[in-house]
């Protein structure tokens, strides 16, 4: 059955027991994203720790906290994402996002790099279902947005 390819055990585990869920302080920026086709929502906060060069791409993702409602794919994806991003630099995180986005757009033909994507390779099956790709990317887009806001705040402060 194809369902098992989509709903891999890793996904169902993250769905049932989401990691890092809940909104936390402190945070630098918050973002609220909605999937207009189904109404699924995520509110996501990013806390960054500046590196020696200040708050830029070399800053470390100190925390990603979120509150969300949605389907198993969107919930599991948010959970897996926090595992991948927390502790990495912003630039590293954006590279993972690029890799994950490429996998989602691969129409089932992608060969995900498990060293980069770790648990997120489980979403390979989702890429065969165009209607569900947005579900998998919802939290990632919110993180990208919140991170951009965090960095912009720093620039405004400097100027």
């Amino acid at each position: 059955m194809k369902l098992d390819a989509m709903y891999q055990e890793i996904i169902l585990d993250h769905y049932r027991n989401p990691h890092h869920k809940g909104l936390r302080e402190p945070f630098d920026a918050e973002s609220h994203h909605i999937n207009p086709t189904c109404g699924d929502e995520v509110t996501l906060r990013v806390a960054l720790t500046p590196s020696g060069s200040g708050l830029d791409g070399t800053a470390t993702v100190a925390d990603v906290s979120y509150d969300s409602m949605g389907c198993s794919i969107s919930q599991a994806s948010a959970s897996v994402m926090t595992e991948l991003l927390i502790g990495r630099t912003v630039d590293e995180g954006l590279a993972v996002l690029d890799e994950f986005t490429a996998l989602m757009q691969s129409k089932g033909q992608g060969e995900p790099d498990e060293d980069v994507l770790e648990d997120a390779v489980a979403f390979a099956g989702v890429s065969q279902y165009p209607a569900r790709i947005k579900c998998a990317l919802l939290a990632w887009m919110a993180w990208k947005d919140a991170t951009a806001k965090s960095l912009a705040t720093e620039k405004e402060g400097a100027a």
Binding site: L3, M6, C38, G39, C71
Partner: protein, 425 residues
């Protein structure tokens, strides 16, 4: 003709797509006709014949094909008008029901600057437009926008827990300031069939107009504009066995005559000068550009097809399917039907939630079994908010659905519950 049971097998034979398989050779169980219906061979043949024999730009040119195409287009208008008890000159073709709603909404705001002759429909500050909480976005957002453009106030009927319109405050809501009441005839989510005559009667008392969204009613039950006492009726061809790309606005003749155009350009004109133009009479006033003649011909063929079966019979068949679905889907543990629990004044849409499983996931399991349903808010976000549901799963029926299709739905929902472990298997 009335009371005849539908020969679903014979009907299905007219719809080639219904015999295909999906997702690893699963027979297709199509339960998404509320979104769009499938098309019988007769409709496709009519459209093909138009292209192969009569294709030309209608209302232009004097050659034989232009005459034949124009005749086909205008005959289609007459057929489609008769299907809802209207006369041909009161029927305007649009892209879809959404455009038909917008046509009226823009005519109302354009009326403010169209001169004295067209002031009748103008709205402004102090005027009110009334909608309902169960509207499809297509019959909500255009009115929000109209109010934004003109300063008029938008008000709405609430929905009861049972999924019926709350008419308890009708006397206050529809008052002497009300210019238009826009409501759905049949909810695309709840299946509720609204008491249009009662609301129209109140609108008449205060001189308000009534626009009826028939996108979910005209395909599924006998609809007669005179009987409903509405002023405007909109519906879409693709939801009633017809082609995509054609919708209908029916309006009372004197209202259409009082309306300035929405979209302007070729063939909606009287006389054109470099600095100004006059407009054609309705319905041409509202049909700028080369119209969708092949789609009109296809939609007329769809009306013929439905007439041959009888809309009373279509409605009775769907009523039986809804009763069966309410009973069998509704009795699954953890399933909550959003909409009336009984089949009285209720059409063929059954929306529900399954405790512990998001509708997207329910839909995915159903899809894996070949069962096509709609998941999401079905373009009725405020209504979902009203029922504290982010989204629902919706099964919607048509004349080609059988009781076995409902059984497949029920089995699929149970499978989703097993798959996601929300029931003891």
């Amino acid at each position: 003709m009335t009371g005849r049971e539908l020969d679903v097998e014979a009907i299905r034979a007219d719809f080639a797509i219904l015999s295909r398989t999906v997702r690893d050779e699963r027979p297709l169980v199509y339960l998404d006709s509320g979104a769009t219906s499938q098309k019988p061979r007769q409709v496709l043949d009519a459209e093909r014949e138009f292209y192969e024999r009569h294709n030309a730009a209608v209302h232009r040119g004097a050659h034989q094909l232009a005459e034949e195409a124009t005749d086909a287009y205008e005959n289609a208008r007459a057929t489609i008008a008769a299907f809802v008890g209207a006369s041909a000159e009161e029927v305007v073709f649009t892209k879809n029901a959404t455009e038909a709603v917008n046509l009226v909404a823009y005519a109302m705001s354009n009326a403010a600057t169209a001169g004295e002759e067209f002031a009748r429909l103008a709205v402004g500050p102090g005027d009110e437009v009334v909608v309902t909480e169960m509207e499809h976005h297509a019959n909500l957002v255009p009115w929000q926008e109209l109010c934004k453009r003109t300063g008029a106030t938008l008000r709405w009927f609430g929905v009861t827990d049972e999924g019926r319109l709350d008419l308890s405050d009708i006397g206050d809501l529809v008052n002497e300031r009300t210019r238009l009441v826009a409501l759905t005839h049949q909810s695309n989510v709840l299946g509720t069939v609204n008491p249009v005559r009662e609301i129209a009667a109140r609108a008449r008392e205060v001189g308000a107009l009534v626009l009826l969204d028939g996108a979910q009613s005209v395909p599924h039950m006998p609809v007669d504009v005179a009987e409903l006492d509405a002023d405007f009726l909109v519906f879409s061809g693709h939801k009633m066995l017809g082609p995509n790309g054609i919708g209908v606005l029916w309006g009372r003749r004197e209202l259409l005559e009082a309306m300035p155009p929405f979209i302007s350009g070729g063939s909606m004109i009287g006389v054109v000068h470099m600095d100004h133009s006059t407009w054609a009479e309705p319905p041409q006033r509202f049909e700028a550009g080369v119209p969708m003649a092949p789609q009109a011909v296809g939609l007329a063929a769809a009306c013929d097809y439905l007439n041959a079966i009888g809309m009373e019979n279509v409605a009775a068949h769907e009523h039986a399917l809804v009763e069966y679905a309410l009973k069998h889907v509704g009795s699954i543990e953890g399933v909550r039907i959003i909409g009336p629990a009984d089949a009285e004044s209720r059409g063929g849409a059954v929306s529900f939630t399954v405790e512990g499983i998001h509708p997207h996931d329910v839909g995915q399991v159903l899809d894996d079994r070949g069962v096509a349903v709609r998941v999401g808010h079905h373009c009725a976000w405020p209504l979902h908010r009203r029922f504290s549901a982010v989204a629902t799963t919706r099964a919607s029926f048509y004349l080609y659905n059988s009781f076995a299709d409902v059984d497949a739905l029920v089995e699929g929902v149970r499978e989703a519950q097993r798959f996601f472990g929300v029931v003891r298997s």
